[in-house]
């Protein structure tokens, strides 16, 4: 029984990272119907930013986390401005291919500049393990879970309670009508990218601290899995992305603990296929009929 609880903890800490990443996918998709494949690489940028600021500027953890969020937000806005904005009225597939291009650019650019080697992330917070009825929980796992939940609540508040949030929702429903009532579409979209990317930046620093290992290609697989999480939760839906992230984390852990570790990625993609066949709008997604 303790093993089950232990695996539950493992799954939740993994899932909270997927959830943070999935939020970025889902918000960007919600607003401009673009699957931003470069999102996983923003997360990598966040991890590297944390690595450099902690090592060379001796930032503490909170400061490294916040600055990584700001820097990644800026990176997201810049990418949107240069890569996606010129293609706003181009066919969707063009923007999608551009997103893949941006992803490769970031991965290989970082490999070129900083080397493809794995680096160890500075351990600014000393790990302490707590024994709760035979289940081992580390302070870092708790930190990840709490930070992720806080950020998700904060995001939900921004979307539901602020003026900018209302603008975001308006643009996602009908950009043309939103523009007619005086919403600045470009600024709203930039803001969405900034929000999503800052979540990815936070996830990058958290993951660096948790696993103590970062490399330029670290965003590839988690990025794709977070995308699956966003689809499972219902792409475009913010609570859906959080739930999807946790589900994927738990699923992966369950598959591994049952002894099928070699198939854990396959299980995630199988879920994607099943969801797309059975429940194409995802768990929280609304089935919107598109008028042609």
């Amino acid at each position: 029984m303790t093993t089950v609880f232990q695996q539950l903890i493992n799954g939740l800490s993994l899932g909270s990272i997927y959830a943070l990443l999935a939020l970025g996918y889902t918000m960007v998709y919600g607003i401009i119907k673009l699957i931003n494949f470069a999102h996983g690489d923003i997360y990598m940028l966040g991890a590297f930013w944390g690595y450099y600021t902690i090592n060379f500027w001796h930032f503490n953890f909170i400061f490294a986390l916040l600055s990584a969020m700001v820097v990644c937000a800026a990176a997201g806005v810049v990418i949107e401005y240069f890569a996606y904005r010129p293609l706003r009225h181009a066919p969707r597939i063009t923007a999608l291919i551009t997103a893949i291009g941006v992803s490769y650019f970031l991965e290989n650019g970082m490999s070129y500049l900083y080397g493809a080697d794995t680096r160890n992330f500075p351990q600014v917070i000393k790990q302490v393990n707590y024994d709760l009825w035979g289940v081992r929980v580390s302070n870092i796992q708790i930190l990840i879970l709490v930070t992720a939940c806080l950020l998700m609540v904060l995001l939900q508040l921004i979307i539901k309670k602020t003026k900018m949030g209302r603008a975001m929702r308006a643009v996602s429903v009908d950009p043309d009508a939103a523009e007619l009532v005086g919403i600045n579409i470009n600024r709203t979209i930039s803001f969405t990218f900034a929000l999503g990317s800052s979540m990815a930046g936070a996830a990058g620093v958290l993951i660096g601290l948790y696993y103590n290992s970062i490399d330029p290609l670290m965003g590839m697989t988690p990025g794709i899995k977070a995308f699956v999480a966003a689809v499972v939760g219902g792409i475009g839906s913010v609570p859906g992305a959080s739930l999807g992230g946790f589900l994927i984390g738990l699923l992966e852990t369950a598959v591994q603990s049952l002894g099928f570790s070699a198939y854990k990625d396959a299980a995630v993609y199988l879920v994607l296929i099943i969801i797309l066949l059975v429940l194409p709008a995802g768990i929280f997604g609304k089935n919107v009929k598109e008028k042609v």
Binding site: Q7, N10, T118, T253, G259
Partner: protein
């Protein structure tokens, strides 16, 4: 107008491409006797994983090769039949891709007319390059492709132009199996191997075959994975005596860290892919206790080997870090080619091939190397023991 342009451009491109293909054919024909050494240099091609999944290893090897070349050239070069010739390196990136590796091998052998090739880092990329190397009769020496079948043809005979400077898997996996039974007295062992490389799966298989105790569970991960908590928790639940983890330091370091964090203190035994200073950095010095790995190149063994001492000092002076295994293997590969040229008194690629088959008791950084009839490098093996992140001992296994 625009459409016409595009049509014209594609037409030209098609002609150019077919011309390139035919050009490839004609050069392939003229190399029936291998590539002769021309001018004042010996050309060595490097077919290496400089980007993509195995870039970390490939770049370390590049450093080893460049260091060896610089040393050789600063002493005047390679002695080709009484004349000193400098080595010219032609380094090409195969992007850790099998198809790119095959075309890189063809370019090196046919266009650049290299006399020998060093590469690749991985078995998969290396195997893809074999047909082109064989056709051009240019030997390829891989510093780190460990699959037993890599140097063998389907009929069990050695590939005539393919060599390696490292162990093959059966030898290394068997050594680990013996060590776990005899020295660690482990009876219940779990295997956690890297299934994204032939290296990891090959070692896991050969260990399983040769281990006399009970293999309780075999699990796999792929390169780049970061979370092993779930697998380790289930191992803990199965009460294993030890874990055999064949793979590379980037993942094994994480496995060590996470195993110790969930309170699993059993010995973790791995392979030479772990022998890197980064392992301890990733795992954390406190966690890196009760760790063992089979290795040809170990710091403690190296301290008694003058060639290795010299190499490690030179490496540290140049790159400000402890020399990793891959650099050592690549460094040895370069010197093995030099020895082959000097023993044959010729830098013709076919002659170098012959020279490589005759290497015996070559005094390398990674031990005394002898190329056997399967073109494998046989050399002594040791098991290194880590405690608190430091190498505290090494055991010779016979």
């Amino acid at each position: 107008m625009k459409k016409k342009m595009i049509k014209r451009i594609t037409g030209i491109a098609a002609i150019a491409m077919s011309a390139a293909i035919f050009a490839g054919c004609s050069t392939a024909k003229t190399t029936s006797q291998g590539n002769d050494q021309t001018g004042s240099t010996v050309k060595i091609g490097v077919n290496m994983e400089l980007s993509g999944a195995a870039a970390g290893y490939g770049n370390q090897m590049k450093q080893g090769i460049q260091m060896a070349t610089k040393e050789i050239n600063s002493k005047g070069g390679v002695n080709v039949n009484g004349k000193k010739k400098k080595i010219k390196l032609i380094i090409k990136d195969n992007k850790t891709s099998t198809s790119t590796s095959a075309s890189v091998a063809a370019q090196l052998a046919n266009n650049d007319k290299v006399n020998a090739i060093i590469g690749t880092a991985t078995t998969n990329a290396g195997t893809a390059a074999i047909p082109n190397e064989t056709k051009a009769k240019v030997p390829a020496l891989s510093p780190s492709a460990t699959d037993p079948n890599f140097t063998l043809q389907k009929n069990g005979k050695a590939q005539p132009y393919v060599f390696r400077a490292c162990y093959q898997n059966n030898f290394q996996g068997g050594t680990a199996a013996k060590f776990m039974t005899n020295n660690l007295k482990a009876k219940r062992v779990a295997i956690l191997g890297d299934n994204s490389t032939d290296y990891g799966t090959g070692l896991a298989k050969s260990f399983k075959k040769q281990f006399t105790g009970k293999v309780v569970d075999t699990q796999y991960f792929s390169a780049g994975d970061k979370d092993f908590n779930a697998i380790l928790t289930s191992f803990k639940n199965k009460k294993v005596d030890a874990i055999y983890a064949p793979g590379y330091y980037s993942e094994i370091g994480l496995i060590i860290k996470q195993a110790r964090q969930i309170g699993m203190n059993v010995p973790i035994v791995g392979s030479d892919g772990m022998a890197d200073a980064k392992l301890v950095q990733i795992a954390g010095a406190k966690n890196a206790s009760n760790i063992y790995y089979t290795t040809p190149f170990s710091k403690t063994v190296a301290e008694k080997n003058p060639t290795a001492v010299k190499f490690m000092k030179a490496y540290k002076a140049r790159y400000h870090a402890d020399a990793p295994t891959f650099s050592a293997l690549a460094y040895d590969s370069t010197y093995m080619i030099k020895q082959a040229i000097e023993s044959q008194k010729s830098a013709n690629s076919v002659k170098i091939t012959k020279g490589l088959t005759q290497i015996k008791n070559f005094d390398g950084v990674t031990g005394k190397i002898t190329i056997d009839s399967h073109h494998d490098a046989s050399k002594p093996i040791a098991v290194e023991h880590l405690n608190n992140g430091k190498v505290v001992g090494s055991t010779q296994i016979k």
